[in-house]
Amino acid sequence: MLAVLVGVVILHLTEMIILIISTSVNAWRTHEGRSYHLWDGCSQTNGYKCNDINDADWLQAVQALMVLATLFCMLSFIFFLCQLFTLVKGGRFFFTAVFQILSSLFVMSGAIIYTVIGPESQKNDSYGYAFVLAWLAFPLTLISGFIYIILRKKE
């Protein structure tokens, strides 16, 4: 049915947008109104100097995982479009599903690492909207991956 196709595509595009926003925007955590992380570690700027939060070994891991998740989501969308036109009748979209599930695993790992290790909580600290988006992207991509497993192509 056309409705299923449109729904699946809209879901995938939504996840891609969410992942792109969550990865690129520096708003995983806010401190006194100023948001920072993943790419900008300043908690506050006094004049020209930037107070770095902490040594960011784990932060680089989160960066890498989020970038990989976004990349794999985009790749799975491309593969979905490819497989849509080249798959046999009745075939399943395994390739797409694999990439989508990998993407959800990467997002999950990144979000978990950030939650568990995370920057030291100071007063007036709170999680930013990009962090929420990352946690939202994980179940969405997982569900989408499972949908691709049970999806079949019709003539």
Partner: protein, 252 residues
Amino acid sequence: MPLDLTHSLHSQVSPSLFLSLVLLVSALSQAARRGRQTEAMLTLLVLTAVVLLSAAPRSDAIVVYTGWERHALVGSDVRLSCSFFSWRWTSEDVTFSWSYRPDGAKDSISIFHYTGGAPYVDNKGPFRDRLEFVGNPARRDGSILIRNLDFSDNGTFTCDAKNPPDIVGRPSSVRLLVFEKVPIQAGVITGAIIGVVLGLLILVVAIYYLMRFLVARRVFSLSMSKHGKKGKGKEGSQQRQKPKVPLVYLSF
């Protein structure tokens, strides 16, 4: 180091250079007249090279080289290198001087001076008993070694070298950053993780396609020996299935 073409062309065109230029231009015109293309191109190339080399700045400007930034751990030693480029030979009156400006301060103090063949290190300032001259002035190297670094040594070190009569030039600065522990540079781990995962992905895909190719080749050779043209027919029917609007449905 700007290319001062007019200045160099006016001052440095020596008679020998002029003669060689004339010879090259005549050779070029002869080769062009005879229609020998390769010869003409080669002479043109040599001519351009000679013109460019002669137009290189021969002004009496000295260029000082130091690093841009140096990172070091607390308590360790750091070697700050300083070298210079000059068209003249290294004179005996070559001088090196280092000065230090702490982070946030406006003034700089002189901490090292080499002149008249002898080095003079700081014996009153912040680097007394910690500074050592490890350079070789004859080789245009004016490097210093600072021992037992502390956080208060963060700052900018400026090296000024003079090679009389080549004295016009800008001093060069190197910034010293003293760390508690060596920080992982931004992006190293990120790049490593992304690279490894993508590499594994490409490897898996390559292996998958290789297996499929090998299996297909074996199946093809088997079917060729047994069934003849039947195998090719099946592949053709598979490719015909390309609908205009492909539809999908869910099924467990």
